[in-house]
């Protein structure tokens, strides 16, 4: 694989799953269909690509779009010193995507954070609970439609 970029290899391997590729400022970015995530992740996790590290996993809320939530995954390969960004879109009604915990253990808490803040659910996650907010918290605070000044205190406030 040495000479080929990761994007070219993935486009050849999964032509039906890859929606778009780009490399802004040299950061290889891959936009895929949501049902392809686990298959592509399994492929990237093993050699020859060997993306051992899941650097980050997060979500972006685009209230105007038909597919409201955009998941963003950042991978890093220690063996070949390569980085890869994977994006996929999720509709609001079915904000469900496969869990990456089976490939990268740190996805556990990262996915719990995204579940807590955005309400995206992860199929196959071993323990999908809120991470930051308390269990009684209603709603998902990083959604753009969460009221900015809405407070949910745990004890009665003095004023």
């Amino acid at each position: 694989m040495a000479e080929k970029t990761t994007l070219e290899a993935l486009k050849q391997k999964f032509p039906e799953y890859v929606v778009e590729t780009s490399a802004p400022f040299g950061d290889e970015t891959l936009i895929i269909r949501k049902e392809a995530l686990l298959e592509i992740a399994a492929f990237l996790r093993k050699p020859p690509f060997d993306f051992q590290m899941l650097l980050d996993l997060t979500c972006v809320d685009h209230p105007g779009r038909s597919d409201r939530f955009e998941m963003v995954y950042h991978l890093f390969s220690l063996a070949s010193n390569r980085r890869l960004r994977i994006k996929l879109s999720l509709p609001e009604q079915a904000a469900v995507v496969g869990s990456l915990v089976r490939f990268w253990k740190n996805a556990n808490w990262l996915e719990r954070e995204v579940f807590d803040m955005f309400g995206v659910r992860f199929e196959g996650h071993p323990d999908l609970r809120r991470l930051f907010m308390n269990d009684a918290f209603e709603g998902h605070p990083l959604r753009k439609d969460y009221p900015l000044r809405k407070r949910q205190p745990l004890i009665p406030l003095r004023k």
Partner: protein, 158 residues
């Protein structure tokens, strides 16, 4: 008898004793803690004002320093710490977050600790300079000296 006794009022004497023997409990949750440490250590030396004893137990403290951001999840803990302190007790809100929530006008942060516990002195700043902290401490001492003192044998109003 000359020079062997002084006369004062009990209220003033208690105020004088209390303002120079503040045992403080630092409730440090955020970056203001750095300025707190600077104030408490040798350079600025909070001990000059009789507040050098840091007690890490609320039961032995009479000044609660709320240093830093208090989130909604922290609020019940802060309330318990305050309730555990014995009377008489005072509270300083240290830094913009403790005073008003600071820049964090969002779902997670209490908008000023006076929503949770009563506050005597507010020290703004992000973070406040140690000089401001010492100024706040002097203001609190003045307040303690002026206030009506509560003591053990005092007749309590039902």
């Amino acid at each position: 008898m000359q020079g062997n006794f002084i006369t004062t009022k009990l209220n003033a004497m208690l105020g004088w004793a209390r303002k120079f023997s503040l045992f403080h409990y630092p409730y440090v949750t955020a970056c203001c803690g750095m300025e707190y440490m600077s104030t408490a250590c040798a350079h600025f030396d909070i001990d000059r004002f009789g507040a050098g004893w840091t007690r890490f137990s609320p039961r032995q403290s009479d000044l609660l320093l709320v240093v830093g951001t208090i989130s909604q999840k922290q609020a019940p803990i802060l309330r318990i710490v305050y309730d555990q302190m014995t009377e008489p007790k005072w509270v300083i809100a240290f830094g913009a977050c403790a005073v008003s929530g600071g820049i964090y006008d969002n779902y997670a942060v209490v908008q000023g600790v006076d929503q949770v516990i009563p506050v005597d002195v507010y020290i703004p700043g992000c973070p406040p300079r140690p000089e401001m902290v010492l100024d706040g401490l002097l203001k609190l001492q003045e307040k303690i000296q002026q206030q009506k003192q509560d003591w053990r044998w005092q007749k309590r109003q039902p």
